[in-house]
């Protein structure tokens, strides 16, 4: 029998570079872009093999700085704090353009504006920043934040406490707010960004270490290009994005993920020219705001805290 022709040897693809990303929480719709990029092979196209990890204590900031993971999902407050403590991390992209958090209460409590919160019970986790934020937001509306009663609810979730032990708490609309919609619990939410421009900070953001930027700029660029592509797809096809997220984190509540992803798809890029782009005034404004309220020991150099350099050119 004629000898079968040996198939031409396919040139072995260059070995993939191992890259790790640590999330700021359990996987949620904020992270969909990362999973999409992984699932759709955007990372592989760039020669990367990305592993996505869930975090606990401590957040990813220290791990990124210590070089234990390459990238992390963090938020502007943490990056600011870290840089003030000389921990060299840098924000590469804002995952959501505007702050989607706010003070939520049951509709029947009728707390529609910050001033209404006077004399009400706030359920928080006891960080000094909470006091400052509440006072700032209420001051803008002519209210007195000192009149709010603070109650520690720690790790208890929104739904187990609201309307019982406390009147309002601080939530991310894209997760808890959507869950409330699904449960048909009507809420009033006072969004932070509507009342104090300084509080319209970026949360979450994608970070890496200064060392990576200096020594492995190419890798950072490849990672961010693929990630951008992932988030762009999530913006364009939220249902597809949600499905991919659920495939990688099947423990999540599917209904919640679907609804949340749809809501977020309009928030991710929002009014920015491009997904992920950050503005210096946001970084400086928030740092200044923190410094003024003694939440920071020293002022940070805002333009070192973030960079847009690794986003794909537009």
């Amino acid at each position: 029998p004629p000898k079968k022709e040996e198939p031409a040897p396919v040139p072995a693809p260059p070995p993939l570079t191992k890259v790790t990303v640590m999330l700021d929480w359990t996987p949620n719709t904020n992270h969909t872009g990362l999973y999409v990029a992984k699932e759709k092979g955007f990372y592989k196209e760039q020669g990367l093999d990305v592993e996505i990890l869930q975090s606990g204590e401590p957040g990813p900031a220290q791990l990124v700085a210590a070089g234990k993971v390459d990238f992390g999902v963090s938020y502007q407050e943490e990056v600011t704090n870290a840089r003030a403590a000389d921990i060299p991390i840098v924000s590469l992209a804002a995952v959501i353009q505007h702050n989607t958090s706010g003070f939520a209460s049951l509709k029947e409590a009728n707390l529609t504006r910050p001033k209404d919160l006077e004399g009400k019970r706030y359920g928080g986790w006891g960080s000094p920043a909470e006091h400052a934020v509440i006072e700032a937001v209420m001051a803008k509306d002519g209210g007195n934040g000192k009149k709010v009663k603070f109650i520690d609810i720690g790790s208890a979730d929104f739904f187990s406490v609201i309307g019982k032990k406390v009147d309002f708490t601080w939530i991310y609309y894209g997760w808890d707010g959507i869950q409330a919609e699904l449960r048909k619990i009507p809420l009033n939410v006072i969004m932070l960004k509507d009342f104090d421009k300084a509080l319209d900070y970026y949360t979450p953001v994608i970070i890496t270490s200064e060392k990576n930027i200096k020594e492995r700029a190419d890798l950072v660029k490849k990672f961010m290009h693929a990630t951008s592509k992932g988030y762009e797809l999530a913006i364009a096809q939220p249902e597809e994005g949600a499905k991919i997220l659920l495939k990688h984190a099947p423990e999540l509540n599917a209904e919640l993920v679907m609804a949340s992803q749809k809501w977020l798809s309009t928030q991710l890029q929002a009014d920015a020219p491009q997904w992920g782009r950050q503005k210096k005034e946001v970084w400086e404004g928030y740092a200044q705001w923190m410094f003024e309220r003694k939440l920071l020991d020293k002022m940070i150099e805002a333009d070192k805290a973030f960079t847009n350099e690794f986003l794909p050119p537009k």
Binding site: I52, G56, D157, A249
Partner: protein, 256 residues
């Protein structure tokens, strides 16, 4: 088995009480899900739970194994060399006051986010009971047995093999059983530090998705796995130490 009947009944009654109070007081399921709901979640997410459980089991077993090795070596060093015991034992006891959750982040920073830090958390949790029990076992060996072997001209190695090892075995296994109880829990704590698979991950994800019944389902899985591990050790103990479990008939009836 028979002697556990009454606790099992008590447990069933507790479950029923729980089921009915949830019903009667209309407790919302995200505050306290009814046992039936938990059972449902257990069944519905069984394949997923199994997958995570396997990861946790691997971590727990590796950590447990590491703790057995570390604990036994340290206990032997302490049991055989008094100055090691005098020096190390107080430090080990004091170290127990350090909350593992406070040290765990350091483990992650030092050893990365892979399986290693989880294994180390399990080992840290498990190693104390094993060490303490084994040291106690070695301490309580009848010194006259050692003396007897000395009169026979035995070497230190023979004394170790013929008297000290077997004499410390019951305490050693007692320590193993305590450690086994905590090993799965240790792995879950380790997973809370970060990772991508395991019951601890399943648990936090469920918690953050407001799926309280799944949180309970994972507690059930943790307990079941712990009990299985303890059971396995009990079986090994019985096989290793038949003399301890031999039925003692009325001693007076075997007269000279």
């Amino acid at each position: 088995m028979k002697r556990y009947v009454s606790s099992f009944l008590a447990f069933l009654i507790l479950l029923l009480l729980w089921e009915f109070s949830v019903e009667i007081f209309q407790i919302e399921k995200f505050i306290l899900p009814a046992p039936s709901l938990v059972a449902g979640a257990l069944i519905a997410s069984f394949p997923l739970l199994l997958e995570h459980s396997l990861q946790t089991a691997v971590e727990a077993l590796l950590g447990f194994g590491l703790a057995v090795i570390m604990g036994t070596c340290l206990a032997l060093a302490m049991g055989l060399l008094p100055w090691v015991k005098r020096t190390v034992y107080p430090l080990i006891v004091v170290s127990q006051t350090i909350p593992i959750m406070a040290v765990a982040p350091l483990l992650i920073i030092w050893f990365g986010y892979d399986i290693l830090p989880k294994v180390l958390v399990v080992a840290l949790v498990c190693f104390f009971p094993i060490t303490v029990s084994t040291v106690e076992g070695l301490d309580h060996i009848d010194q006259d047995m050692v003396k007897l072997l000395l009169t026979m001209g035995a070497t230190p190695g023979q004394i170790l093999r013929l008297v000290k090892f077997p004499g410390a075995l019951p305490s050693f296994f007692a320590g193993l059983k305590i450690s086994a109880t905590y090993s799965i829990m240790g792995a879950v704590i380790g997973e809370w530090l970060g990772g991508s698979k395991g019951l601890g991950i399943y648990m936090t994800r469920s918690m953050h998705s407001f799926l309280t019944e799944r949180v309970f389902a994972s507690i059930v899985a943790i307990t079941a796995m712990s009990l299985i591990l303890v059971g396995i050790i009990e079986i090994i103990a019985r096989l290793t130490m038949p003399w301890l479990y031999q039925k003692i008939s009325w001693q007076q009836d075997e007269k000279v």
